[in-house]
Amino acid sequence: MDSRVCKPCPGADPEVVAEISRLIVTNESVSKVLATILEEAVRACAAVRGFLAIVDHDRGELDVRYTAGEGWSEEKRLGRLKVSEETGRGITSHVAATAKAYNSPDVERDPYYIRSFEDVNSEIAVPLVDTNGRTRGVLNLESTERGWFTDEHERFASVLGNLGVIAMALADHRAREAALVQIGKELHGFTDARAILQKVLDVAAEALKFEDCSLFMIDRASGKLVLKASRGPLKKQIGHASYEIGEGLTGWTVQRKEPIRVTRPSDDPRWRGLYEELPSADVGAFMAVPIIGRSGAIGVLRVQRKKSPYKWFPNDFTDDDERILATIAGQLAVALDNVRLVDQLVKTERLAAWGEMSARSAHMIGNRVFAIKGDVNEIEYLLEAGVIDPADAHRLVDSIKNGIFLLEEILNEFREFVKATQLDLVEADVNELVRESVEEGFPKRSATVLKMNLAPDLPRINADPKKLKRCFGELMENAVNFQPEGGEIHVSTFIADARCKKWLKPSRQSGRYVAIRFEDTGPGIEAENKPKIFNPFFTSRAKGMGLGLSIVKGIVDAHDGTIYESGTPGKGARFTVLLPAASGRRRSSKKGEADPKAG
């Protein structure tokens, strides 16, 4: 048909088609292309006016987006929209429904026509149909003359309409490509599975228009598919809603490791309708793809679309939709595999620490008990010999007491190491916590100079005050203990700047963090020891098991923060703790204003 297009149509100019094509290939915006198409159609066909209505896929409605020609007012545009909403008829709706062009030479006698302009006597409408056979919009031209529009007019309008569809499809592809690139970027660097899942859903829903999106993952403990992320009403059931493998359409997808696409899901024999984003009767289309990781199927990504209120409006998912969803699932699988590897690494490290810890503590406890037994053995011997000197007895009792004290100290450290990650969170004022810890940790009479520099108006943080005070107290104690007579300790708080934040994981660097810094003028940390100081059992003091800084790190980690040492060896140690600001906007530091759940 293209070859015949331009000749017979009186106003059709080959240049018009060339110009519009040029707009499309030079990436001009869709609205500009469509507006130009409409104007050229009106001009070429000598129509009194025209409009281009675009199908809103989410609502299944026609939306008059572009108008050209005489007599348009805001009221008229809205009036048009209302008509299609109320009745689902009118020539435009009819063309959208049938996806076929329609020429009405005399609107007075037309069963579909609904009048909105007094002067109209004839009208043609051509649909904009995409490669999936779906109507994307309708181009409508009106004339005051009866029988004005010829077949040639209709053909030319169709050609322009096709160009419009091409522009829209290109824009869609670009948006999808951008969304996929964005998902790829977002996934890179995440080490927290929960954050990944929600992010993917957000991008899928917003950029790709998969409105109701949910993600189920196989839970290793129960072997069930458990809802891990969702948008909309199902959000409340995250962590609870679950399917057996093979149960319902969702379970089927995982069991077969195949994607599934159903137009009327509730008619499908596999359908269970257990957990739906929409009421079962409203689900118009259902699509799910398995997420296949290194170890096989690990979950399902699924989307649903509302049933259209219009019978003619197809809202089932297309091949394109399925390809996109499968691509996202693939990226997700890679990212999750990565997270699992990191998790495993962390777990292995923690396990190794535990193994070392139990071996070490058994060794230390064993030695202490052995020594205590020696003292007891000696007392028994002295008693049996009948020659017991009170001074000897006291010496032995003191030795036993000391042994027991050391045992208790070990137990205490052990307990704190274990409990470092179990938090009782409330919203708290960092400066208050620092002030209290410093007061408790800094000796009353000391030749050391203490400088405090606490920034006012710091955002509040979610903290376990007891644990954080323990953590700051330990850092204070370290600073004091490694300080020569007359040194200086500098404690400061401030908003973390970019230099501090580079110690955070890349995915976290955009957040707001409060920094707490302890600096001293002691010997500092040797460069070779810097990587080891937060390991359990690393100590340069004889006391305890050397768990101090590992407990500090455990507490900071549990607060989703980080700790680092950046002092200069020989000049002093500098420990900085970064803690995320509470998400609430409130900045008050007054007591009693905190969250009612707090405290």
Binding site: A362, N367, F370, A371, K373, G374, N377, E378, Y381
Partner: protein, 144 residues
Amino acid sequence: MCRILVIDDEEAVRNAVKRRLERDGYGVDLAETQAAGIEAIESHKPPYDVVVTDMVMESPTSGLEVLQAALSTDIFTELIVLTAYGNVGNAVECMKRGAFDYVEKNIPGVDVFELLSIKVAQALDRRKASLSTLRRIEQYTMGR
């Protein structure tokens, strides 16, 4: 008087063992590291009769190093290995290579110091027997 060397990195352990063995009438020297222990073994004249050493000090195989030093100084020096917690594997390895015995520091309900005292006495008996055998072999070969 019999000379005994006690090597352990825990002061409380060294002192408790020394006190108990002195009660039995032995002369007891102390060393607090594997290196110091080996140096004492190599320099002491006459060689120590019995060496009591912790298994795990600078390294998990400290006991083995001490054993090697003791046997290369005097093949008849008896070695008793102390193990702080169930690290019996290395202690058994020591015995395979000629140590007299091992004593676990923590055995529930057992007075390990009495046990150690008995082991030391047995070790000394074995050393005496070995030495007298050696003397008789020497006399026998010289008499021929």
